[in-house]
């Protein structure tokens, strides 16, 4: 890792620190939103789900704040080299985190429907899947704050675990639906919940790629993809 001498203009460093802080807050809020949306889903707590839906507005506001800060820095400081890469990365990361927040909100919305039916057995994998996804987001944001390309590139492998959870849940839910046709509605919602978590994993991984690029100026090697569900015909 490169060492980071302070800028001659101190307020430039303050601006960047402020932008990093907003991104970190967004990351923290995403972790909470995902964890709580899955809690609400599993515990059938519609009130909690409503709070999560409300809280998504905070993520939207933070994204707007990050964008305003980044635009200001670009306009006033004309950043170059690693500064420029970091600010562009921060701008993109803010957008991705906002999107991740939307997925969490969507999980909360679906929990209301799921709560109206009997429990669907394969759903027990979902909290485990969510735990891994939250971990990836936390470590990705750590890599961003520490400007650590080694940590960032290591994260690119972790998404495979999420994909594997998704594959097995996909098959399990398909089987479950065949055997219990009157459970198709909650099962379909759970399938979307799982898909949301899988998408969050992909987004978090793309954030790790942005962190890697921002620090090193190089693109990481192509990452492995393990989501094969788009080619599954029937759960053999």
């Amino acid at each position: 890792m490169a060492e980071f001498a302070a800028h001659t203009v101190k307020s430039f460093d303050e601006d960047i620190a402020q932008l990093r802080a907003v991104i970190t807050r967004m990351g923290g809020l995403c972790e909470t939103q995902i964890a709580e949306s899955v809690d609400a889903l599993m515990s059938r707590n519609s009130e909690a789900a409503q709070t999560i839906i409300e809280n998504d507005k905070r993520l939207d506001a933070l994204e707007a704040e990050a964008e305003a800060l980044a635009v200001r820095i670009i306009a006033l400081r004309a950043p170059l080299a690693d500064d420029l890469r970091e600010i562009v990365a921060a701008l993109k990361i803010a957008g991705v985190l906002e999107r991740i927040g939307d997925y969490a909100k969507n999980i909360a919305k679906r929990s209301a429907v799921v709560a109206q039916s009997q429990p669907v057995a394969p759903a027990v994998i979902i909290p485990e899947m969510a735990r891994v996804v939250v971990e990836i987001i936390r470590d990705t944001l750590d890599a961003f704050v520490d400007r650590d390309p080694v940590k960032a590139v290591a994260l690119l492998q972790r998404d495979q675990q999420v994909d594997e959870y998704y594959n097995s849940l996909f098959r399990a839910l398909l089987t479950f639906m065949m055997e219990n046709p009157h459970y198709i509605t909650p099962s379909t919602h759970l399938l979307f919940v799982a898909k949301n978590l899988e998408r969050i994993g992909d987004h978090a991984t793309s954030v790790a790629e942005m962190v890697y690029y921002s620090v090193t100026g190089q693109r990481p090697a192509e990452r492995p993809k393990n989501d094969f569900t788009s080619t599954v015909y029937s759960p053999e």
Binding site: A2, H7, V9, A78, D82, G217
Partner: protein
């Protein structure tokens, strides 16, 4: 501005360099200002020299057409070639050299003569015009290429010093162009100009690219990023990094380059 800009050759096309410098050392008395600089200057690119004050970039620029000859105690070692010819050879005609390698300075310095005479001075000195009509054509063409014709054509008899700063600088560029040079050296050509005049010079540099090899020294990092295709970073008399401009400004290899362009220097 320019009626018929020359087609620009593609960037990245590998041609024989217009100028080469090998192991150049420059001393001012005891003090060494340039240490072992080797660089190739391409005819088809604009090359920017950047670096903090006192890093040697202007000194090196001035070596390229022997402007340092006039500085007392200055001594140049190493080899500088223009089209393979040794610039410092004893039989090199320095006046001829400076016609081939023209220069534009930081502060516009038109002669206290008419606009016409400012441009005609060089061609007359070098006997480039056989007749008044010839000279008129040279003056018009140089002023057109410098993007000054429309503003100057009705006031050719007025003094060059009566023009605005930006116009004066374009007049100096027209003066350099009039002798049909191969290389144009620009030493911070915009630092005394307002943003509009600066933009016009940058536009002009872009139009002249491909027709002349252009080397520009600038303190304005954004300007270097905008107008050049190759950038050389000088520090304490050494050439630290020389690469495509896009690489230098988005992903510099050397820590010293990065610290300088991101404003962490010193």
């Amino acid at each position: 501005m320019n009626q018929n800009p020359a087609p620009k050759p593609a960037i990245g096309h590998n041609a024989v360099p217009k100028m080469t410098a090998r192991d150049v050392n420059v001393f001012y008395g005891q003090k060494q200002a340039i240490k072992n600089v080797s660089i190739d200057i391409s005819a088809e690119h604009v090359t920017a020299f950047i670096g903090p004050s006192g890093c040697g970039k202007s000194t090196f620029l001035r070596c390229l057409n022997r402007m340092n000859d006039t500085v007392d105690g200055a001594r140049v070692e190493g080899r500088i070639e223009l089209d393979g010819e040794d610039v410092y050879a004893s039989n090199m005609d320095v006046v001829q050299l400076r016609a081939r390698v023209g220069m534009v300075f930081q502060k516009p310095n038109p002669f206290p003569k008419s606009i016409y005479e400012n441009v005609a001075y060089g061609p007359r000195l070098h006997g480039l015009a056989r007749s008044k009509a010839d000279m008129d054509e040279i003056v018009e063409s140089a002023l057109k290429r410098a993007g000054l014709w429309d503003e100057a054509k009705d006031r050719l008899g007025e003094s060059g010093t009566a023009m605005s700063g930006g116009q004066q600088q374009r007049l100096c560029i027209a003066r350099a162009i009039a002798v049909d040079p191969e290389v144009i050296l620009m030493d911070e050509p915009c630092s005394a100009l307002d943003p509009i005049a600066t933009a016009r010079i940058e536009e002009l540099i872009d139009e002249l690219r491909g027709r002349y090899a252009i080397v520009i020294v600038t303190h304005n990092m954004q300007q270097a990023a905008r107008v050049s295709q190759k950038t050389a970073f000088f520090h304490l008399g050494t050439l630290v990094e020389y690469d495509d401009t896009s690489s230098i400004f988005t992903n510099p290899k050397a820590t010293r380059t990065k610290d300088y362009i991101t404003g962490r220097y010193g």
